[in-house]
Amino acid sequence: MAMESNSATAGSLTKPCKKCRVQEATLDSRGQPVCKDCFVKFIATKCVKQIGLLGRETMPPCIPNPSGRGPPIIQIRKYILGLSLGPSSTALLNLLHENIEYQLSMNRRTPFDLTVIHISSSLGQSSDPLTAHRKAYPRFTFLTIPLSFALTLPTIDWSSLSFTSFPPSSLSELFNSLASQSVASRTDIIHLLTRHLLLHQILTTESQALLLGHSTTSIAELTLTQTAKGRGFSLPWQINDGPFTIIDYTLTPTEEKKVLVYYPLRDVLRKELITYTTLTDPPLTELIPAEEKTVKENAAVVSHKDLSIEEVMLRYFADVEENYPSIVANVARTTGKLVRIGTEENEAGNLCGLCSMPMDGEGDERWRGELGTTDDKKGLGRLCYGCERSTLG
């Protein structure tokens, strides 16, 4: 019976959705013609699966019963979301919101509270970039943090960078003091500082995990980007979900803190997320600033000196994603299997003072590739290979 009615419905459509068979297929989902609803549902399922995995890793926090007696009070899980304002993190914001609304509509407990954090690198920004977001998602707390706040972070070992005075008083002082003055190095350091600020916010907001909106495509891109920066050793700490150690260098002795980092959209391609932002009601595209929407990969290259490694990879993967989406997914999946070495020894001396990733003593000993630089460019030995490259050249 069901079969008959399905085929009857399908028969009246010019191109029925492969999944529900009751609506017209208007979109392509991994080679299958699907309708808008099934497309959105597919993205949501991928995200909810990962959020569920995180939920099992994190127990809701408990506080003792204030009456002094009775069972402890179970609180709500607290996560933070890093919002770049781009399509992927905006999509994640919306998906998390819908997940909570759904749970509440089923008369379940609120699954988690969310603080949304945007790290702003633009100087002298007068208007709040998150006004529209606050209005659209009144349930969540929104914070904008200037990138320059990273200079006061206790989780960076400023003494590992050879400054005359540290920490530097401004971002421009930081960048001008670096031996490496390339756009590639500067962009790398901006990424490190942004990540540091977000990780530190887990502590200040007393949250349990940081959620990042990276798509499958971004993770594949990140894999090759970090490889090209000489950061291959720490890849498993950067692309996998799980705990990450940060250190408070202002305390004596220094104190280690473990924080959780998750990528709930790791199974969704970037192009799928971009489509998703156009399908919601109202469309999320209204929340995405124009400069985030412009397709950077199509802009003409004026000078390669003004490009970062990230931009080169963005262009490369835009092409690969379009033509060979399975290869993108395969890169992300297989590099996800690389194992983390050195988790046992994650104390201050074994972590890079700048990026907080484990350092690779064995790799240093084996390394025979000299860049032909002079001795005065040698670091203090407390930075990893990739950070030495970006600071010392």
Partner: protein, 406 residues
């Protein structure tokens, strides 16, 4: 603007901007520093021992010509005590090898080194021209790569030499690292960056003394030393997977010249992160330079080093295969076995649970059985499979031969 002086000697006018780090050097200092760096690589990796007989895999191209020249210079300057021999492979490609072999012959005279030429026809009964006639231009680089790899080792064996050096440069190694990441090939990723492949168990060890040398600097060195080399690309050169990685590397190099070396570094470090690798538990701290690799699947000089399953190594073919795998998720083991049966052509290969290289990418990405080095049942050449790749490919070729002759 006054002409800038060489950053090293500070007396001569700087003529060369080093591609690797943009320092400005005079011709003499550039040649010196290039040779010094190769010497550093050789010394610190303990590549050679005094009195060792070493065959230089010579194609007549820039890399192997520079390698021969640098090794001759360093051998005399630093008293390595090496007995150097040029070893050339004649693939049997008309218009390509004829000229480059002439170059190698001149090199032999210029460097006063003995030369041995081994032909594909005498080794396999097939020249590359005949192979292309049979299977077409698509995927023939697989044959060439597999055949060449064995040819060098067999040639070395004939000469009683246990060490072959090849001209692979930093760009080649970096390219292989990115290519293996794109292919999701963890097993190869863990081997491709080692400076030495093959260990005490193998009959012939391989090394790449120019592993850290930039291709652009090799070209500059050859130019300023006025070396005699042959610069035509192989006429069967494919637009393979490797091409995609190569263009990416060239772009990265323009953005940050150190990127090539940085990728090599990442590749070395990531080799230890591949599941099943020895990792930090290795007792010989920092000295682990030799990869106990199966000899067949090191990087080949040109074209692709695909295991013959995805002909030509086109990304589209792999994408298609991956999609099929996704659709049949959960049946991965069965699928890979089926593929191996149909592609390998020989029934013998499926008798045991053989780890299939280049088969289902999902099955070779680390969790699969470890490859064990053995010997090919037919030719005795070392192989991780019962029948080595060359014999497998030859079988396919020989089956087709009668049809072609009709």
């Amino acid at each position: 603007m006054a002409p800038s002086l060489c950053a090293i000697c500070k007396t001569e006018r700087a003529l060369i901007k080093r591609p690797k780090n943009y320092t400005k050097l005079c011709k003499t200092c550039f040649i010196q520093v290039f040779e010094d760096e190769v010497n550093h690589t050789i010394k610190s990796s303990n590549l050679f021992h005094p009195g060792e007989k070493v065959a230089i895999g010579a194609s007549g191209g820039k890399d192997s010509t520079v390698l021969a020249s640098v090794l001759k210079t360093l051998n005399e300057r630093h008293g390595y005590g090496l007995d150097l021999v040029l070893l050339s492979i004649d693939e049997g490609i008309k218009g390509y090898r004829d000229d480059s072999l002439e170059t190698v012959k001149r090199n032999a005279a210029q460097y006063e080194m003995p030369l041995k030429v081994v032909g594909y026809d005498e080794l396999y009964g097939w020249t590359m021209d005949q192979v292309v006639e049979t299977i077409g231009k698509k995927g023939n680089c697989t044959y060439c790569g597999v055949f060449r790899r064995q040819a060098l080792d067999r040639g070395a064996k004939m000469l009683g030499i246990k060490h072959v050096v090849t001209g692979h440069n930093a760009d080649d190694v970096a390219e292989t690292v990115l290519m293996n990441l794109l292919r999701g090939d963890m097993a190869r990723l863990s081997r491709s960056t080692s400076i030495v492949t093959g260990d005490d168990k193998s009959e012939v060890k391989r090394s790449k003394p120019l592993k850290y040398s930039y291709e652009k600097e090799i070209v500059l060195y050859a130019h300023h030393k006025k070396l005699d080399y042959f610069s035509t690309e192989c006429i069967y050169s494919p637009e393979a997977f490797r091409g995609s990685a190569r263009s990416l590397i060239k772009q990265l190099e323009r953005v940050r010249p150190s990127a090539i070396l940085d990728i090599v570094r990442s590749g070395e470090d990531m080799a230890r992160l591949v599941p099943g690798e020895s990792g930090s538990s290795c007792a010989c701290k920092g000295q682990k330079t030799s990869a106990p690799a199966t000899v067949e699947d090191d990087i080949s000089g040109c074209g692709s080093s695909q295991g013959g399953v995805v002909p030509g190594g086109e990304m589209a073919a792999m994408d298609k295969q991956l999609r099929e795998n996704e659709e049949h998720a959960g049946l991965e083991i069965d699928i890979s076995k089926k593929i191996s049966e149909s592609k390998q052509g020989g029934k013998e290969t499926t008798e045991k649970a053989i780890p299939i290289r280049g088969g289902n990418p999902a099955s070779k990405s680390g969790s699969g059985p470890r490859q064990v080095l053995g010997n090919c049942k037919r030719c005795g050449y070392m192989s991780s499979q019962e029948i080595c790749q060359a014999c497998t490919l030859l079988e396919g070729l020989n089956k087709n031969r009668p049809q072609i002759q009709l």
